[in-house]
Symmetry: C2
């Protein structure tokens, strides 16, 4: 009945390593499956991954070439005269991150031509490596004397971090160690010439911490983990004469375990927390765990947008105060949403707690997903929750951090969908996909998910162990699914799903066992804590994992910023297979203010209330600005429906 | 019955000149009275002026000395070795502005010792002037070769503008021309060596434009007005290779008449508009008038805080988008509120339209008044409308623009209270004061105002012309006084006051005629246009000209950010003569959320509504942060009072 294909054991370890290699991590409760063990089989994310691999990755390499990012390496490794180095001082990292995305794409979909391209790039990169192992295309030649002199802003260690991550991804995709060995040479140089008593080190932009933890996991060399701990320790604060404003902005340079809130540059802070979580997964240091939990609570209780976006201020690309979540001014860099996603990935691995998956999902489906256009060629750096129609999707940014960050996320998506633990198999995200892997008992297992998610609520999971075996299938019940029914082989499970938890289905599973989950797809109106100044009296619409918005193009005659929702709010879904790659829109009989608000005074004793009926149509947030710039709003005023005038004659 | 003292005619013109000398300005409908013609006689502003003159002005000079601002001049004019120049490149302007404030204070209250101090400072300043007339303590010596090379940020013309304004004030206060002549030497240098075909000029920080207009009015030399026109014309945009972002930020460098909205640095933009209004008052250029009206509408319809504060963003100290009025993040620099006040002063002079006075009053009583502490020694640079308890009142700022700007405003306050026009006498602001001046017919006139404003609504104006004469007394009816009754000598006037207008009382006035105005002091709840994201569903409390706020110290057990108003809202005034210099507080039986909002989730489908009774006490906004930093809020959520539970037993 089923044609089961099980992984062949005895292959080299690199084939078995997932996005993180946590199989020997003492604090890891959950263990990733290899990216290659998961095939996306024609659902929502299949299309996003296809466009990433077929359009985004190739076109971005062309742009990186056009902007000199690869030439920056070539000119150092060649006797030929090249034009001067181009671009900001951190462009090396963009190529490394592109390689990481391209490498993961090979595990999702092998492509010998792309692999050959990466091989050539690796040669170009390594030809630029200095004899001592140092590698950076900016801090060389006339700037060679300034090596390590501008660590707060120089991005030397940041670039190394991405080099390591790209190298590990390529190693796990192909078994090829060349780039990995090159990155190790750089790390060995650090271990030799820097550190306590020698040249002090600082991650002015944290990133290397998580890369070093993964390098430790890949090689087993504890010195790499120790180096990560040194960077997180803040011991060099005095020697480097760091100012408080720098410590805040960089989120490094002072002891990580003394942090009490997220502040400063959002990507820096969240990469630091991700690296610290990796460090905890390996060391179990309780001071780290306490800080990580404090920071996580600070994030989700007061500093995260409803799209999973992070970073309130353009100035410093930074976190704001608690509850400072301005929709139009939101910075919400794609990279920051991804960094928050990675942070929560580690927290989930440490605990198996669905509250972390919930944050990952919120970011992935909304504030990350919005970052790449539907055609895979335009990128958002900022992902605000309100737009006056400014153009924010662009094909190129001189600071090109977000595009390859989105690529590496989408190219490896399957690797985030499942985990294993001692007790069984975990299903985190529901999308059409097929897992071919093994339980931690060693028994081979397949799992196949069929669903219309995120548009419809039916999910079918067919579980097929190689032999009948008792284990737990952990099925995630999202926070938004208030009423969830679960059945196994047609029989309802003993326990109903509790929102925001994993439903543990423990039984003897045999090949072809079928779990059916009916998720609650009723549209939800979210309220923000009244402490959020901009969202008071307003609602955001969510259906399944998708946050919705009003975009001007869909409103017949109603100005988006004059629109309001009428409570109690009926929202009627309509499938639109031809629209924006196929979406479900939500129709609502809402309201507008009688006359355009733009013509009303700024201050008045008169309260303007929306009272004129208006047909409103919501679209998923992630598709905004895909038909050109347009006015857009996530948080919409909501008022009780006006009672019909008694004077009005009945018809 | 009345002891009438009338001005002696035939005195030099400087004694008759007001804050602006508009007597020959073709487009000036209203003409200022001399500052010295108005005495403050023991009301609200008398105390603010007293503290300005007795505490603020003397202590600030000490601080300017301590921080080297005066030494920056001394070192250039002396053979003695001084320490190197100190402070930012624009400190000269701070001393000039201090002189302007001190000079106006002499007209309000003569003080020979202070006058002697200014004389000495003038000598110190002029000793630093270059032989060619150039005067700036930064762009000299080793930087002399960079003169005019960094006009976008160099502040050379900005400092000259303040030199001229200080010089004119001192001239009008004392008749002494020394500083005035020094500033004219600098202007003559500009006319000789710069301009079209010569060194191009740019006000990287507009200010000189208004100073030149006033210099023209003071001297009658049209070349100075023409120079202002040149600076406003933007003709040097090409020669100076100005970028669009610079044109936006500086609000200069491109033709003023092509501006369509306020943007960029708020103080720069509003000084530019003030200078352009001065230019219009002299030239009548209709293109300027059209632009001024467009900008004014942009300001009051979408970019002004309810306190009259201006400038939404810290980044660039700048305007935001339309309706971008964040309360906590508001930049609202004291200087920007003052600049808006000055802009509206010119617009009022051109029209006699009360809508401009209304904006002046809103700023003066609230967003300007808050800028100086009650004891006159601490200053706000920012005047936000919400505070988490950050310390924002400081005695010193290295960029010391706001403190002397506040001083020059308060020291000359009487000069803003009255105007004359061809038809009669205008009363703009109601405070205990006595005007001794003349009508434009030449007939001497006195006016004495007695009132408890801004705390009580009764205003008595005793008008005493030297001889009985028919003229119009224009009594301003503020926008907030919805029901105003006016009586003359006990008889109701024919016309009731219409809010936001001048009530023209035309009759034959004779000495001792008594006008009684009863202003409507009913507390008002203001709503913002729903397009303002942070104010939706909230109200601001205003009573008379004063905007109120909740400050933590006055709330018994209720956290300010958990507080809400209960509608319909009763606000009960209580005079507190001992509190904060004597204020009227407003009591309100409001509400709080059941449990602290800080413990509530960030997003939820549940709407949290305030339902627990709470006694709230509002204090005037301008006194906030005078008892130390504390949480503060102007815009407060407002909900209909919860209906009493039906299950509750009747007692």
């Amino acid at each position: 009945m089923f044609l089961l294909v099980f992984p062949i054991f005895g292959q080299p370890a690199w084939r078995d390593e997932g996005l993180l290699e946590l199989s020997r991590s003492p604090q890891a409760k959950l263990h990733p499956v290899p990216v290659r063990a998961v095939q996306l089989t024609g659902g929502f994310w299949t299309e996003r991954q296809r466009i990433t691999i077929e359009r985004s990755i190739p076109t971005l390499l062309t742009l990186l070439e056009e902007h000199g990012v690869v030439d920056n390496f070539r000119r150092l490794g060649s006797a030929t005269d090249y034009t001067p180095r181009r671009g900001p001082l951190y462009t090396d990292s963009d190529l490394y991150k592109w390689i990481e995305g391209a490498a993961w794409s090979l595990t999702s979909r092998p492509d010998p031509k792309l692999e050959a391209t990466i091989d050539r790039l690796v040669d170009v990169i390594l030809a630029a490596q200095q004899p001592d192992g140092y590698l950076n295309t900016y801090w060389v030649e006339e700037r060679a004397g300034q090596r390590w002199q501008q660590q707060t802003s120089g991005h030397e260690l940041y670039c190394l971090g991405h080099m390591i991550q790209g190298a590990i991804a390529y190693y796990r995709a192909t078994g090829k160690r060349k780039l990995l060995d090159g990155s190790i040479r750089f790390v060995e140089y650090l271990l030799r010439d820097t550190g306590p008593g020698k040249q002090p080190l600082l991650t002015g932009h944290p990133e290397l911490e998580l890369a070093l933890a993964e390098l430790y996991r890949t090689t087993g060399d504890q010195r790499y983990l120790k180096l990560a701990g040194y960077l997180l320790s803040g011991v060099e604060r005095e020697r480097l004469k760091l100012r408080p404003s720098q410590l805040e902005y960089m989120f490094s340079g002072s002891p990580f375990t003394e942090r009490t809130q997220f502040e400063g540059h959002a990507v820096r802070a969240l990469y630091a927390a991700t690296g610290a979580a990796d460090y905890y997964l390996e060391t179990g240091d309780p001071a780290y765990w306490k800080t990580l939990q404090t920071l996580w609570a600070d994030l989700v209780n007061s500093k995260m947008f409803v799209t999973g976006g992070v970073g309130s201020r353009s100035s410093g690309e930074s976190f704001g105060d608690a509850y400072e979540l301005p929709n139009r001014q939101a910075y919400t860099e794609s990279c920051a949403a991804i960094a928050g996603f990675l942070f929560n990935q580690r927290m989930l691995a440490a605990t198996g707690d669905a509250k972390y998956t919930d944050v990952m999902e919120r970011a992935l489906y909304n504030g990350i997903n919005s970052g790449m256009s539907l055609d895979g060629t335009l990128y958002c750096y900022r992902n605000p929750l309100s737009s006056g129609g400014e153009k924010i999707r662009n094909s190129w940014y001189d600071t090109c951090c977000c595009p390859p960050n989105l690529q590496r996320t989408f190219a490896a998506l399957g690797g985030y969908f499942y985990s294993t633990s001692k007790n069984g198999l975990w299903v985190h995200f529901f999308d059409n996909s097929k897992l071919v892997w093994r339980l931690e008992s060693g028994t081979g297992v397949q799992a196949e998910v069929k669903t219309g998610q995120p548009w419809t609520g039916q999910v079918e999971i067919v579980v097929s162990p190689a032999k009948a075996e008792t284990f737990t299938l952990y099925v995630r019940i999202p926070s938004w699914s208030e009423k969830t029914t679960v059945s196994i082989n047609g029989q309802p499970a003993e326990v109903k799903g509790t929102p925001n938890s994993y439903l543990p289905l423990r039984r003897e599973w045999k090949a072809g066992d079928r779990v059916r989950v009916a998720l609650d797809m009723e549209p939800r109106l979210l309220r923000a804590n009244p402490r959020v100044p901009e969202d008071y009296g307003k609602v955001a619409v969510q259906r399944g994992p998708l946050v919705y918005c009003l975009e001007q193009e869909d409103q017949a005659g109603t100005q988006v910023f004059d629109a309001a929702m009428s409570l109690p709010a009926a929202l009627v879904p309509e499938e639109k297979p031809e629209l924006l790659g196929g979406i479900t829109v939500l129709h609502h009989k809402g309201l507008t203010f009688g006359s355009p608000l733009e013509s009303a005074p700024l201050y008045s004793t008169k309260e303007l209330r929306p009272g004129t009926p208006a047909e409103l149509t919501f679209v998923p947030y992630y598709v905004f600005h895909n038909r050109g710039p347009a006015r857009m709003e996530v948080w919409v005023p909501a008022v009780a429906a006006p009672t019909a005038s008694k004077d009005q004659p009945a018809r």
